[in-house]
Subunit: 187 residues, 2 copies
């Protein structure tokens, strides 16, 4: 079946505690709703700092979470000189140390990952699409640089709507972009 | 069969005429031989300039060629604000206009492409591997972000040695790196 694609650029999630260190009592505003219900691009940006380099203008996504997490691409990791593991969101075991810089302070912690390719889905959709008991699917991007992505992890939550997420390396390599309709198959 | 992988970062090829505009009579030195016989990373770097941005430190590959060509990734194209076509090397039809800046001058021309995935091969190897009459193959990168690359164009020349070339978007997306041994199949 075809699903909607979202290509994720580098971004940051923050706990309330870390938000207060970086932005004090500034309110967390919304620039744009994301496809996943309740999730939004906030009006706040941070810098990512390592010993090697700083990347400015990295978007904070809302709402605040129970964990602070930096999601970057492999390309970003070479620029920053870090070697983060490929992980599901929230699984920060062995993640890379990085400094997140805001206008009022900074936070340094092991919280940097490369996100797994994943498919957001709720239980109803999962049953409808015969994906109960299936952990991973395959995504096929057609075109001049046709690419087949394996190891697309299924992420189920009652709040989710059906959407495939890949990062900018995968998106740019295959010439896929946010809003494309992508074929998903069970491997 | 398995072949050696080379992941190509953004780079530039120059004609003798354009080289003289950028570097005058400075000799073209060699930093490192590439895998393809006779090809080398030169000791010269240029900047790539568009209305939107400049990327510095882009390597000139040698020797000089019959055409001037800039090869970038899709990720680079967003940074530079250009929309180059995916092309075989030397096919500059419809390529994007870009300015190449050297220490003594600059050259602006339509010469910017995103290179097709391709497999360098000579006639002997092509016969040995049953690839005569085959135009395109498929490359499979195993691992955590297993990826299958279609539309890998076969590039035959007597001077070539067997080597798969992909760009940094494809390499970083699949976590593949120069020197890896990659499985090639006939689609």
């Amino acid at each position: 079946m075809k699903v909607l694609l979202g290509v994720s650029n580098r971004h940051v999630h923050l706990t309330e505690e870390d938000y207060k260190i970086l932005f004090r009592d500034e309110p967390l505003g919304k620039v744009k709703d994301l496809v996943q219900p309740g999730q939004f691009a906030s009006d706040k940006k941070v810098s990512l700092k390592t010993e090697k380099r700083t990347i400015d203008g990295v978007r904070l996504l809302g709402p605040l979470r129970k964990y602070t997490q930096v999601e970057i691409s492999k390309t970003d990791s070479f620029a920053l000189g870090v070697d983060p593991p490929v992980r599901n969101s929230g699984d920060l075991d062995g993640s890379s140390k990085i400094t997140i810089v805001g206008p009022y302070g900074e936070v340094t912690k092991e919280c940097c990952i490369i996100a797994n390719r994943h498919l957001h889905i709720n239980r109803e959709e999962r049953e409808r699409l015969n994906l109960v008991g299936v952990d991973k699917v395959t995504a096929i991007v057609e075109g001049e640089k046709k690419t087949i992505f394996e190891n697309v992890f299924i992420k189920e939550d009652p709040s989710f709507t059906l959407e495939l997420h890949i990062d900018t390396d995968d998106g740019n390599g295959s010439l896929a972009k946010t809003g494309d309709e992508i074929e998903i198959i069970i491997p």
